[in-house]
């Protein structure tokens, strides 16, 4: 049996860890409440933008526009694929970062040339440690997503796409389905592909073409950047919310574990204490008997 001192030291360290995990639990649950509010606000926009774009594409099948150009003339081995990977800024969030990174690595294996744009410190460190080249000027944090930040990211992607240094852009993020389920998704951002949008509305009575005012090109020039911006913003908000949620669950279970551990440690501490007392009494009694 471990000595009393050893057990006491162990208990102290567990207590200190418990303090930390408990504090992190409280912080992340406060953050989660804020993030979820933002998610509730942004979700209708996010869904609407997807369904509207899908509807527009559905009603105008043969759009010719630079954002729809799949560049079939570029051979597979020369294609450059950009990945925007949204991870958290900190670890200690269960499998959250791990899932994102795993999916990113899996997707990256299928592409010949890869450009990585990582949001969040923990993904950045991981890819740097593993010797993967990431865009070093792409420094965005995952915390408190804003529209301005997503606008900047979107503009960068559109610029790279238009100048030809990226042929495809994917967005890897975590979607929060409910408090217990999160899903890591890979979403094609550019070029716009009507096939990736699921059909939202099956209305048969508006088969007629949609007209574009003033012209298809002018509308698409506006609509696609707006869509990309909205999509990125939605992904950032979803990811931030998922991160807080998984940190909260991870910290809750580790706090629970620490409490369980403390209980069993307290039990063995009391046992050790009892044993020590008993031994002392036996020694005293034994000594007294020997003196008689």
């Amino acid at each position: 049996m471990a000595s009393m001192k050893e057990i006491r030291n162990h208990m102290k360290s567990v207590e200190q860890t418990l303090k930390i995990t408990n504090a992190m639990y409280l912080i992340s649950s406060a953050n989660l409440r804020k993030a979820r509010q933002q998610l509730n606000d942004v979700e209708p926009y996010f869904e609407k933008i997807e369904s509207t774009i899908s509807d527009i594409l559905y009603h105008s099948p043969e759009i010719e526009h630079v954002f729809f150009d799949k560049r079939p003339e570029v051979p597979v081995e020369k294609r450059t694929t950009g990945f925007i990977v949204v991870t958290g800024d900190k670890g200690l969030a269960g499998a959250y970062n791990h899932n994102v990174i795993k999916l990113a690595e899996q997707k990256m294996k299928q592409c010949s040339n890869v450009k990585l744009f990582v949001v969040g410190q923990s993904g950045r460190t991981y890819f740097q440690e593993h010797g993967m080249e990431i865009d070093t000027e792409f420094l965005y944090t995952a915390q408190n997503p804003t529209v301005t930040r997503s606008r900047d990211i979107g503009e960068l992607m559109l610029d790279r796409f238009l100048e030809g240094s990226l042929d495809e852009v994917y967005l890897i993020f975590t979607k929060m389905i409910d408090s217990f389920h999160m899903e890591t998704l890979c979403h094609k951002l550019l070029p716009l592909d009507p096939k990736v949008f699921k059909k939202y509305r099956e209305d048969t009575h508006y088969r007629q073409r949609v007209s574009y005012v003033p012209s298809t090109k002018a509308v698409m020039n506006r609509l696609v950047p707006g869509y990309v911006k909205g999509d990125i913003f939605g992904a950032l908000v979803e990811s931030y919310c998922s991160e807080q949620n998984s940190r909260m669950t991870a910290m809750k279970s580790s706090s629970d574990n620490a409490r369980d551990m403390l209980q069993s440690l307290r039990l063995s501490y009391n046992r050790a204490r009892q044993a020590a007392i008993t031994q002392e009494i036996t020694e005293v009694v034994g000594g007294a008997q020997a003196a008689q």
């Binding site: 606000d41 942004v42 209708p44 926009y45 609407k48 933008i49 509207t52 509807d55 527009i56 009603h59 529209v147 503009e155 508006y206 007629q208 073409r209 949609v210 007209s211 574009y212 005012v213 003033p214 002018a218 509308v219 020039n221 506006r222 609509l223 707006g226 909205g230 913003f233």
Partner: protein, 134 residues
């Protein structure tokens, strides 16, 4: 929507659902001027410029200042996805004035093309806000 003169209008921004409900008419700031929409409009997709938007509910004209975005118009509904939407009473005149001055000042500096567009957009937003508060 039983009344054939009504259509379903949605004005949505990233931060809130500004308006969802029936409307009789809508005037929106399109790229080449204002555009009016009644029920049974032909299907149109158009871009929205920062500016003033009006919609009519129960004979009342509602006034909104919107940011850039786009609209999908169908015979029985219209969906507007815009970056911002505010009622005139929510606008702070002084703030808008300051924003306008800031944007003008920035436009005088040498900027990258993106910064130029951002300042231009900021200026357009500020102008739209000021116009409604005069």
């Amino acid at each position: 929507m039983d009344n054939p003169k009504h259509f379903y209008l949605e004005i949505i921004t990233p931060t809130k659902q500004f308006y969802t409900g029936p409307a009789q008419a809508l005037i929106l700031p399109a790229v080449d001027g204002q555009m009016g929409v009644y029920a049974n409009h032909e299907p149109v997709v158009t871009a929205i410029e920062p500016g003033q938007l009006y919609y009519q509910v129960d004979e009342d004209w509602q006034h909104v200042v919107v940011g850039a975005g786009f609209a999908e118009i169908k015979p029985d509904y219209a969906i507007l996805l815009v970056s911002t939407a505010e009622r005139p009473e929510e606008i702070d005149f002084n703030r808008a004035q300051e924003a306008k001055q800031r944007a003008e000042e920035r436009l005088r500096q040498k900027q990258s093309i993106h910064e130029y567009y951002h300042s231009k957009a900021a200026l357009a937003r500020a102008m739209a806000r000021l116009k409604t508060r005069k």
